[in-house]
Point group: C2
Chain length 217, copies 2
């Protein structure tokens, strides 16, 4: 309890949080590490070990309380605080994200959308305030936006990321078909469709055919 948590454990615990919020909605009150294993593919003893890194987990003969687990994870990782995000690039992909119901992004608030084309911005109907790319730095700073979802073409990806960074953004989820250059003080996750497909190919070629997503992720 209270130790510092290794990154792989953070990833697993975040996944657990997601699964547990789902369970809570379907009114499941308690759950054991074994049940969680079958839902997530994370092995039961890993789950117990990971949870032991957190402060004061409560459990009993029939496992953990979904409610208190959710709360504990939420506290540990700051999920209870709503964070502002923005979407940079409003083509089909960006729009699909912008059009998500609020509930799909619970815990986050889309505080701005950006695109390079004023024509496109004028065509969009949304409650989210929209701006042009050149305003990124100013607006990110002004609105205190913490994370960005980047969904632009390969040509503008790095430049747009630089603008976001200049505005003081803390993290970028990059869906553009480019691997962004790393930058000190900026969390980057490249989610690159073609590369994800290649990774599947590579794993297959190397003989990983398990169903356990944690064994290769």
């Amino acid at each position: 309890m209270g130790k510092n948590i290794p990154v792989p454990a953070i990833e697993r615990l975040t996944k657990l949080y997601t699964v547990i919020t789902g369970l809570k909605k379907s009114n499941k009150k308690r759950i054991s590490s074994t049940e969680l294993e079958s839902l997530t593919g994370i092995q039961a003893h890993s789950i117990r070990k990971d949870l032991s890194l957190l402060a004061s987990v409560k459990s009993s003969k029939d496992g953990y309380s979904t409610e208190s687990l959710e709360e504990l994870l939420s506290m540990t990782f700051g999920f209870e605080r709503k964070r502002k995000i923005c979407i940079a690039g409003l083509d089909m992909h960006g729009m699909a994200i912008l059009n998500n119901p609020d509930s799909a992004l619970s815990g986050f608030e889309i505080a701005a959308g950006f695109d390079s084309s004023i024509n496109r911005l004028e065509m969009i109907t949304t409650k989210v305030p929209l701006y042009l790319f050149y305003e990124i730095e100013e607006k990110v700073r002004q609105l205190e936006i913490e994370f960005a979802i980047l969904a632009v073409d390969s040509e503008s990806a790095q430049k747009t990321a630089d603008r976001l960074a200049a505005g003081g953004i803390k993290g970028i989820l990059n869906f553009s078909p480019v691997i962004l250059e790393p930058k000190q003080g900026l969390l980057i996750r490249n989610i690159y469709l073609l590369e994800e497909l290649r990774l599947l190919s590579a794993l297959l070629a190397q003989g990983f055919a398990t169903g356990n997503s944690e064994q290769y992720k």
Copy 2:
């Protein structure tokens, strides 16, 4: 050389492959491990170590030949063989992927699209053959589709994944807002927007603010 390659190394090498194909297009002939580090965030000695796991890397005083690296990785991971994929769920997100130019998915061929609504299918103009969900199992088997991109709502995600699996699919990239249950013999990557955002939050809360994407990915 010839050893078996650990999963984290496969991930890094796949990323390298992506970066190197980009370099080759911009006509860069040779590249050093240090340059690759600054492009990918993967440390130079890790790159060298990873490459040493592959058969016969050729290098010299000015680094590696982009061409031969690309070829080597391509051979090792089977990127030279074109694989068939399908898209299940053709709402905005699925359509954004369907509308990608072929070049954006080089090495893969979209061999089918699926949706639950016949009306929606009739509205779509594309060269890709489209079918209803109930045909998934049959078509996946018949067309020998290897991977699926799943982009449906949370209600149908698990059921649709089961259909894909029944057809003998080998891997699923799941963009639906649900964590799919693991299954023996099936590679699953859950790419869940909300969870990716949460992971950024969690990493931030735990004090990871490096720019090096590999240090937390």
